[in-house]
Assembly symmetry: C2
Homo-oligomer: 361 residues x 2
């Protein structure tokens, strides 16, 4: 059993930002909130998925909105706590454990600061195995868990409980509410029991994130190639395959907030002379990397941008002209590549007119 203590948070923040593929919100703010919650309420148990009691009542949580807005609308942690209070009052049940709804900078930290305050464990798993921009893009939904009720809260003390006909309609309504809450809100959803969680979750993603962060930190300290170390680390996990698909300079970032998401396109001009530019589609997360119309990597596989020198993952809202980056692609685990899963978060679910092609066999 792992206990999440403040000294683990740096590695977790970095690793979760890698898994967040540019999304999932700013890891720095999340880390500060997790640290202060642990200092105030004590460390948080990270419970392996297989150890969750079958009858345990759990729910997922995280932030919804455009990560660009999270930079200015800094949360206090009380928003998510209010979403939990609202959820528990509405359902009439006190939760026994919390599961992250995605892996990502803020959204791997949010369950920790909520769990510290509420004195419950965080489950070492999540519902995306990465970050995705939409509420219905969850293995929880793919494998039959109802997203509803969805409790939504903001920093002004306003709350909304959505009970929609399916997860896509929950997304539509909760996104509308989030836009009216100023573009960022805090959610508790996907209530389920422990037995169900074991069947529908991507396991081990919190400890995977800690491992990624640790690998990058040790490489930096030992002056070894962080990308080579990271590829080697992934080979020993259930994600297995990772590779660097491009290295270059950010030569353009077109970005806007649209329908409540940060959307845009980034262009990476490779260092190697004569190489065509790599374009990266953004919807909160990096969705796909293409070169001359050829797919290098595409959702649900991960496209991660890391600073060339520091190997720090770069979230979409921090991306800017002139940054020098490695583009890392990571294969997602099998639970995320079934036909049912691709029907919910394959390329066409993002409006990309491409089929899913795994980055490696």
């Amino acid at each position: 059993m792992t206990t999440i203590t403040p000294d683990l948070l740096d590695d977790l923040a970095v690793g979760a930002a890698v898994l967040g593929t540019g999304g999932g919100g700013d890891p720095y703010t999340g880390k500060l909130l997790a640290r202060s919650a642990i200092e105030a309420h004590g460390p948080v148990e990270l419970m392996p998925l297989e150890s969750v009691p079958d009858a345990a009542r759990i729910a997922a949580c995280g932030a919804m909105g455009a990560p660009t807005i999270l930079i200015e609308k800094v949360p206090s942690g009380a928003e998510l706590d209010l979403a939990f209070d609202t959820y528990e009052r509405h359902t009439g049940h006190v939760l026994d454990a919390i599961i992250p709804f995605e892996a990502g900078g803020m959204n791997s930290m949010a369950p920790i600061f909520a769990a510290a305050k509420r004195r419950v464990p965080v489950i070492d798993a999540d519902g995306m195995g990465r970050a995705f921009p939409q509420l219905e893009m969850e293995t929880f939904n793919v494998y039959g868990v109802d997203a509803n009720p969805v409790a939504v809260a903001d920093e002004k003390g306003n709350t909304v409980v959505v009970q929609a006909r399916d997860a896509a309609r929950s997304e539509w309504l909760a996104r509308g509410v989030t836009i009216r809450m100023g573009g960022q809100s805090w959610l508790v959803n996907y209530g389920m029991d422990g037995a169900t969680a074991k069947r529908v979750s991507v396991p081990g993603t919190m400890s995977l994130a800690i491992g990624i962060g640790r690998t990058l930190r040790k490489a930096r300290v030992g002056r070894r190639d962080p990308m080579a170390e990271l590829v080697a680390f992934f080979a020993g996990t259930h994600y297995k395959h990772a590779k660097v698909i491009a290295s270059g300079k950010i030569s353009d970032v077109a970005r806007s907030v649209k329908n409540g998401w940060s959307v845009g396109v980034a262009t990476v001009t490779p260092f190697e002379a004569g190489q065509a530019p790599v374009t990266i589609a953004i919807q909160n997360e990096y969705l796909a990397a293409e070169q001359e119309g050829r797919v290098l990597a595409i959702v649900p596989d991960l496209v991660c941008l890391l600073d060339l020198d520091t190997a720090e993952p770069i979230t979409t809202e921090r991306l800017r002209y002139g940054q020098r980056v490695n583009v890392l692609a990571v294969q997602t685990p099998p639970i995320m590549r079934t036909p049912e899963a691709l029907a919910v978060f394959g390329p066409r679910c993002f409006g990309l007119d491409k089929d899913y092609v795994p980055i490696a066999g």
Copy 2:
């Protein structure tokens, strides 16, 4: 005690549409729904406000959205019933009686079809004394009743419960949800007890509407001047003062759906030669009538457009070029003209840069 039987519905529909000042939704659809609900479940008691038991649990209800959309998105009545189920489940209380949140074509009928199905009385009163376009524009709110929780439901079975910090924020969030529900939704809100209802409601507005409809019908049958009869009728009520402020032809209607409301401006060109056109500002309801910059009537006083020949009230969504109309102004009762009330639904609350001027002293 009045019992609402199908034979009263024609008068009520006409009278409520007059009080609705062009808003409150299509009276025809509402009437059909009320009639079929009474046929299925029996007549509905119309309970005088002063007879409501002090401890009775009551809540307000009606439709939210742009009335133009209600023409195409015809309701079945199940939407509002679902909003009541959601409200009662969320609060844990079964309601003893229903109060209309406004007087208006659809929204004076909605409480009836809900009450028939749920076998509770409708209270002879409402929270606007007319129709207004926003949820916070209620005497309930003016005199201290919390609008929250607000249960919102649509025709697809989706529901949302809003718990906001104040009524204006409830409006903002519920309107956002309504837009995402397709521009029309069904609400239950302003839960209160009977003692409170007596203090904060505009009394007698359902029977007032029936009286207005009866007056117009009898004038038509007796071939008497319906406008003169209506002015005489109002003189005997707590609204007291009414007058025809213009008669003419609709020479222009500029209308659009904006931020979830039907907004626009209508122009009435008077029949009398040399008279300047009368412009009428619209936000779901007719808000103000002006001539050469001079206010003829303005919110919260009522501006009603009635067909010149039939004396049928014309709702904003049915207004069109070429219609010949009488413009009737009606003074609102004192409870709606206090400084507190004008701070919530005076002209400036609609973005009109005018002070309130009563149509008569």
